[in-house]
Structure formats: C-alpha cells, structure tokens
C-alpha cells in the first residue's frame, strides 16, 4: 500500500562533545503525496541524509513530527516502520546470494515459502535479474548490486521507498541508465519515493517534486520546471543550472503584471509576488534565454567556447559578466573574444526574486 509522508516542524540537532551543536535539519515542513516521487536536493552537508534517516528511523527527532500514512512514527524503531531503504553503498548482505538477499525481509515477516518464492521471482523478472539469483554480492558489478538492493526494497512493497544517493558510486553512463530504470520501475509500481541526491540533473530527471535544501533549511519545493524557471532565491537559481542575476526598477504595476526598467528599457514581466512601484528588484535569467544578435543591449565578448550542442559566451555588460548559451550554433554566426555583441532578454524567461 503506497502511503504519503507528512513532516511537520522537523528539527535535528547533533551535539558534538557536549558543547558545540550542529543544526542538521532546521524546522522542516514537507508533504509527499502517495505515489509521488520527491527528491531532496542540496549541497553536501545540508542535511538530506539526516532528514531521510529520520524518516527511516535511524536518527531520533530533536523536535517535530513525522507521519507515514496515518501513523505518527516518531517513537517507532526502523523495523516497525513501513519504509524500505536503498543505500549509497548498496549494503547487500555479503554472506547471502541474491535470492536470499531479496527474500530476507519476507522471511523476517514470516511469509510462507511459496509466497516468498513467487514474490522474489516477480521482482527478479521486473528487474531482469533472473540469471543472477545464485550469485553472491562479491561476484557482481556495482550496478548489478544496486539493482539487487532496489529489488530487496521493492519486494517488501513498502509504503515508502527511501533512497540515499543510490547512484553516486556508479560511473556516469550507468548512472543515467539506472536513473531511467528507477523512474520506469517507480512509475510501474507506483510507489511513494523519497530520494536524496546532490546531482541536479538526477533530480530533474526523476522527480515529480524537488525539495531544495541549504544548511538544514528548505529553500524551495516545486516541480522540476518550477524550481528551474521560477527559483525562489539566488541560491536555488544557482544550484539548479546556471543563472544570471540582473537588477531593474519597477516602473508600473497592473495586477500581477509589472513593467520593469532594465538599464533604460522597459520589460513586461508577470509575477505572483507583490512589488511596489519604484522598488529595485532582482531578476534571474538563464543563459539560454538571452537572445544573441537582437538589438537591445550592447556587450563585449570576454569568453567564447564552442561546446558542440551549444555555444557558450561570457559577455561584459554594465560592469557585470553574463553567461550566455546559444543553442544550435551550427546555423549561427560566431562571436570572437573582444567583439561587440548585442543582446536582449526573453521577457517570458525573466523571473523576479
């Protein structure tokens, strides 16, 4: 039975040597719908693992509540919680073969032998791992071991599936392959998943919803599109992809539509937030949303690199450097360093923070 997760005012403080303390998770509120795939994303040390381990039951809560389904799990040990976890280093039982690894949890639950066999078989089919059932972990590659680890968690049909950077020990190619595999299987089984990573492309590729954290505090919760296009703050913008921050002044306001003066030229931008007329505002624009060659602003090229699928520039404009990425460079003119380039901003992509 897939279950939702509700996290309320969750805080975790680690005491170190009884005098200094680390606030690893700081007053976090989060809801995961049943069947949803949610990713915790953030730089190293921001508290992702700690949050995940509190949901699993490996860390005690300093403050707050966690519900899995209807149940408040704060006082339950990990074995009593309806979760299953996939670990970064696979954590397979080295003294058991693949079959016994996958069957372990079912045996603990005292499921009947034929039923265990049926369910393990089903998972092995799903993961296309039938040929491996007699192998022991030391005879398998990292990718294969991680599939077993996933199978071992899935076979429990847990209410919630937890992942702690499951792909970070794999090489780049395999990582992308496994990412798609996980997404496919998750959709097929429809299981609620909470996934920790610090790789933004992984988060984008997998998630229904991304939770961006910094220093134990949630910065933004939203779909991949939302966090990319409408970042709440400069940290989120910079953490998900590349971003330019530019400033302007509010000239006029009409409902949610604003006219913004950027270096003497008006731009019409819509925003959900409230800004007063005359106020200075900051805006985010992605490198690919700066239009090259359109008459707007004059800049000087300081860096020019051909990357194949796009052409990357850095240009000096008004004492700041803008990053520009021009897609499909094949049919377009190339600017060299020192040349003048005129640019304009795609108004639909300008986002006020």
């Amino acid at each position: 039975m897939k279950k939702g997760i509700i996290i309320k005012n969750l805080t975790k403080i680690f005491l170190i040597n009884n005098n200094s303390k680390i606030v690893a998770v700081d007053n976090v509120n989060l809801e995961v719908e049943p069947g949803e795939f949610v990713t915790l994303l953030g730089p190293s040390g921001c508290g992702k693992t700690t949050l995940l381990r509190m949901v699993a039951g490996f860390e005690t809560l300093t403050d707050g509540e966690i519900y899995i389904g209807e149940e408040n799990v704060a006082s339950l040990t990990p074995d009593k919680r309806d979760t299953a976890m996939v670990f970064q280093n696979y954590a397979l039982f080295p003294h058991m073969n693949v079959y016994d690894n996958i069957a372990y949890g079912l045996k603990i639950q005292k499921v009947s032998k034929p039923e265990i066999k049926r369910r393990v078989q089903k998972i092995l089919d799903l993961m296309k791992m039938n040929d491996f059932s007699n192998r022991v972990p030391s005879q398998m590659s990292g990718g294969q071991q991680q599939r077993v680890s996933l199978a071992r968690a899935l076979v429990m049909e847990p209410g919630v599936l937890l992942f702690d950077e499951p792909l970070s020990n794999l090489d780049a190619k395999l990582r992308i392959h496994m990412r798609e595999e996980i997404r496919k299987i998750q959709k097929e089984v429809g299981i609620t998943s909470l996934y920790v990573t610090h790789d933004q492309s992984e988060a984008m590729g997998l998630s229904d919803k991304i939770v961006i954290m910094k220093d134990g505090v949630i910065q933004q919760i939203g779909s991949p599109r939302e966090v990319y296009q409408k970042p709440e703050n400069a940290f989120v913008a910079a953490f998900i992809g590349k971003a330019n921050t530019i400033s302007g002044t509010v000239l006029a306001k009409d409902g949610k539509t604003y006219t913004i003066d950027i270096d003497g030229k008006p731009h019409v931008i819509s925003s959900k937030k409230e800004y007063e007329v005359g106020r200075e505002v900051e805006m985010i624009i992605r490198p690919e949303s700066i239009i090259v060659g359109k008459e707007g602003y004059h800049t000087e090229v300081v860096k020019s690199i051909f990357m194949g699928e796009n052409h990357e520039y850095e240009v000096r404009w008004k004492g700041q450097v803008l990053q520009i990425s021009e897609p499909n460079p094949y049919s377009k003119r190339t600017y060299e360093v020192g040349e003048e380039m005129s640019i304009d901003f795609d108004e639909t992509a300008l986002h006020m923070i």
């Binding site: 039951g57 976890m85 670990f87 280093n89 954590a91 080295p94």
Partner: protein
C-alpha cells in the same frame, strides 16, 4: 596444438630461469645484501628448522635404529593417552569460553555505548606485560586451600583449585583478551549500513545480531577460537603451576625430557603437540584468512550509531565491569600477597618475603633483566631486516624464510626448548647452560611477531620512495638505514617493547635451558610456587611486573624525546 603448448611452456620456463639468474646476479652484485640474506637464512635454519628437524629425527630412533617405538609407546600407555585427551579437552573448553567472553567484550566495545572502554583495553594489555602464570598464582591466593574467596568468604576447608577447573579459569582469564582484540578489529570493519538495511527490512536488534552480525563474524570467531586454542595447548606456565594431577602435553614434554631425563621419549609427544598447533595455525591462517566476508562489505561508510538502549547497555556494562574487575583483582592480589605473612593464615603485614628474596640474592633479577636487555635490540633489528627482505627484495630462499618465520609463531615453547637441548648440548656447538642460548631463545621467541608487524607497516609504504633513493645511487644498506628504517620507526619501537616484555616473561622454552650459572625470574618464581612459598613467589612476580612496566614507560619516554609519539607505539 599440443606441440605449440609445449613450446610455450618451454619458453615460459626459460623465462623463469632467466629471471632467477637475473635475481641472483642482482643479489650477488650487492655484497651487503648478499651477506645479510645468508646470515638470516643461517639463523633461521639453525634455530628454527634444525632443532625441530632434530626432534623429528630423534622421535624415529630407538636404541640406535629407526623405529616407531616412541609413537607406539604414547598410544600404548593409557597415561599418555589421557594427557593427549586432557590437552584437547582443555584447549577446546578454553577456546570456546574465551571466544564467548572475548566476543562479548568486542561487541560491547564496537557496538554499544558502554563507559568502560579504556578499562577493557587496559585489561587486554595486562597478559602481555606479566608472566604467563600470574593468574594461576592469584587463583591460588583466591581459591586455594587458604584462599580469600574459598576459605575467607565461603569457609570452605581444603578447597582445591588445582586441576581442570582451575586451569580453565586461569587460561580463560589469560587468553580471552586475545580473542577480544582479534574480534574487535573485525567488528569495527563491518559496514554499519549492512545492519541498518536488515533493520530497515523489519529485523529486530536480536534478529540482526543472529542473521547478520554473527554470520558475518563467523570466520573471525573461528579465527579467534583457533588462536586461543593454539595458545592454550602451548601454555606451559599455568598447567605447571595449577594443573595438579591434570597434565597436558606441554607439561609432559618437560617432565619427561628434563624431569625423567628421557629426551627421546619426549620427542614423539613434542612432534604430536607441534602437529596439533601447527595444523590449527594453518587452518586459521590459510583457510579462515581467505574466507572473510568483512572485506567484501568494503569501506565503512559512516560511523556506527552505538546502541544506547538501557536494556542492552546496562546488563552488558555490568558483566564487563564484573569480568574486568575480577581480572584486575587477580593482578592486584599479587603485590598484596607479597606483603602478607602467611596468606589466609596469618594476614599481617610483613617485609619478610622481600628480605628473603634479597638474602638468597637478587641474581635472577639481574640475570633476567640484563639478558632481556641484550636480546631486545637484536630482536628488533633482526625482525626489521627480515621484514624488509621479505617485502622488498627478491632472492632465492625467500619463500623458505617467509614460511619458517611465520610458522614459528605456532611452535609451542616447550617444543623449541626440547629442540635446543637436543641440538646444542653436544659438539660442535655446546650452548646449553650458556647465556648465549638464553638470548637466542629470547630472540627467536619474540622475532616472528616482530617480523609480521614490520611487514604490515612496510606494506603501507610506497616502494617508489625507496626506489627513488636507490636510483639516486644509494646502496642496499643505505636505503635501508636512511629511508626504510625511519619510516618503520613506530613498528620498530613497538617491536622493541614487545620483545623486552616477551623475553622477561618467557617460561616454556627457557625452563629447558637454565643452569646454575644463570637463573631467571620466571623459573625461580615457579619453583617458589612449587615449594609452597607463595609470598616469595608474589614478591618475584611483583618485581617482574614492575621491571617490565617501568622499562616500557622508560622506552616510551625516551622515544618521545626522540620524536616518536607514544601513541604510535602499541603493544
């Protein structure tokens, strides 16, 4: 096809011969290296291989002819059969009990938030710095006829600690630290996430323990058990002091060889004992050594969350405190016993025993300390040289050197003692009765461990540093003294500390070799216990422990002045 393969084989063989020649040439070109190798091979042959070979030879000779007489004699006499049975019974019992207690300690140390970790480590070091029969001595003080607990607490008259049960008690208390140290290292290497995964899949703590932790540790547990077994069957001091009528093979070899002056009769028993401990060692080293799951789980990803549940922490803490204080008590009793008039009968303070010791002469104290001080640097240097040769140089005879020095860890001391007596009491080399043979015994008994720890630390040093030095024109000797030696300094100095304490406390081998000219502390102490002078024996033991302890502290102090931190020197 076949001829092609033969051709290939021949090519391979030519290559091998070629490379052997190349090795030879390289070695011959460096006279110091060549000389060192020859010397080391000669030492090992003379003092490890040759004595054992002599025992083997003697065991098959009866009245000048080749015969199985000595062996059939063992199995003919029911007395001998009983001794063999005793040895196994003791070894197995002690090994099982020590492993259980050792595992409890190790688990508590690695998994549970208990307070007494320092205490546990201290208890584990005590057996290393004290003579092997100390616990027997204090067991007599506690549980003997006039023992503190037996008579004092329970009023039992004529309690009998001598025999199987007493021996099991003292051996377990002496050897469980070995099991503890082996297993705590392995437990720390288990990746905590493996156990967390099991917990996450619904296993209770107890289920995780029985289905994950114990199976993962199985090879390590067997390993610890075998190590204890080897030490138990080779133990001479404790069975000698407290065995009573319960005789073991190690004791019988001495009794028959020296007591009844029937050396050749003892040889067959010695060979049998050797077979037992060497085969246990081989199983431990080559079978279990490879069968470790722990290496499979790989690097430990994060620190283990120590168990804090009161219902686990409290009983375990209690048991550990109880065991540790019991062991501690046993050691504290010795110096107390040294100041008591007649233990259990007249418990008044006295300095009589000390006066007695001084009146009969402090010769054993001086002899033992000076011989051990001579042996210590020899052991240290020889161990490091051999370790260096084994890790860094190729030469003919290397496998032989490696194998013999390793196997000699498992050779019981009494067997070595018998071998030395057999081999070095006649021309051309008469060494028995001399200080030389005692020093040799000290060196050969502590060297194998020194070699292994030297090898372990050398393996962690990148050979390219040494290669760089030799490319720059340094000779073998120069590379060793200027590059290698400084880098293995910590291992070298802990080797010294080990060699000294081991030499001071050695009993089994040297009891065959002592003479009127040299008397040694351990042997003197044992004969005092034998004569019932418990107070005097306590004085000697106390002095011995004080000397070993203070020399260790002194060495650590001197070394810290020389820039080796005390933490780097471990026992």
């Amino acid at each position: 096809m076949a001829s092609k393969k033969a051709h290939k084989d021949r090519n391979m063989r030519d290559l091998r011969i070629g490379s052997n020649i190349a090795i030879m040439r390289k070695v011959l070109l460096d006279p110091i290296l060549f000389g060192t190798i020859l010397l080391v091979l000669a030492i090992v042959t003379m003092f490890i291989v040759f004595p054992i070979a002599n025992i083997l030879k003697e065991s098959f000779i009866y009245k000048g002819a080749i015969s199985l007489h000595h062996y059939t004699e063992i199995f003919r006499l029911s007395y001998n059969k009983e001794i063999i049975l005793n040895t196994f019974k003791l070894g197995i019992t002690v090994s099982i009990l020590s492993t259980i207690i050792g595992f409890g300690f190790a688990y508590a140390s690695a998994y549970v938030k208990v307070k007494y970790k320092k205490l546990m480590n201290a208890i584990a070091i005590l057996p290393i710095i004290s003579p092997p029969f100390v616990i027997s001595l204090s067991a007599i003080l506690l549980f003997g006829r006039v023992g503190l607990i037996s008579k004092g607490l329970f009023g039992i008259q004529n309690a009998n600690i001598y025999g199987f049960r007493g021996l099991v008690l003292v051996q377990v208390l002496t050897f469980f630290p070995v099991a503890f140290l082996v297993m705590v290292g392995l437990l720390q290497q288990i990746d905590p996430s493996v156990e967390e995964a099991a917990r996450d899949l619904g296993a209770s703590r107890w289920k995780v323990f029985t289905t994950i932790t114990v199976p993962l540790m199985a090879p390590g547990i067997a390993n610890a058990g075998l190590l204890v077994f080897i030490q138990s069957v080779a133990d001479f001091g404790n069975p000698m002091v407290i065995g009573g009528n319960f005789t073991t093979m190690a004791v019988q070899i001495y009794m028959q060889g020296i007591g009844s002056l029937d050396m050749s009769g003892a040889t067959a028993l010695a060979i049998l004992l050797l077979l037992v401990s060497v085969s246990a060692f081989i199983v431990q080293k080559f079978y279990l050594g490879k069968k470790s799951y722990i290496t499979v789980t790989g690097k430990v990803s994060r620190q283990r969350e120590l168990i804090e549940e009161k219902n686990i922490v409290q009983p375990l803490s209690f048991l550990i405190l109880l065991t540790s204080s019991f062991v501690g008590l046993m050691y504290i009793l010795i110096p107390i016993g040294a100041f008591v008039k007649i233990w259990g009968v007249n418990n008044t303070f006295t300095l009589d025993h000390f006066k007695y010791v001084i009146s009969i002469g402090i010769k054993p104290i001086v002899d033992t300390t000076s011989l051990a001080l001579i042996a210590t640097p020899i052991t240290g240097i020889l161990s490091m040289v051999i370790a260096f040769l084994l890790i860094r140089r190729k030469f003919i005879g290397k496998a032989y050197l490696d194998f013999t020095t390793m196997l000699s860890i498992a050779i019981p001391g009494t067997v070595v003692g018998l071998g030395y007596v057999l081999t070095y009491n006649k021309a051309p080399l008469i060494l028995t009765g001399t200080g030389t043979i005692l020093i040799i015994a000290f060196v050969m008994r502590s060297m194998p461990v020194g070699i292994r720890s030297g090898m372990a630390s050398l393996q962690q040093i990148d050979p390219s540093i040494e290669e760089a030095a030799s490319v720059l024109g340094a000779s073998s000797k120069k590379v060793f003294t200027s590059i290698t030696l400084p880098m293995i300094k910590p291992a070298f100095f802990s080797g010294l500390v080990y060699a000294f304490s081991r030499s001071m406390t050695l009993v089994s081998t040297i009891i065959f070799l002592v003479s009127a000219k040299y008397s040694l502390l351990t042997v003197t102490t044992m004969s005092q216990i034998d004569q019932g002078r418990i107070g005097v024996a306590s004085v000697y033991s106390t002095i011995l422990i004080v000397i070993v302890g203070s020399i260790i502290l002194l060495m650590k102090f001197a070394l810290s002045k020389m820039g080796v931190s005390a933490d780097e020197i471990e026992l």
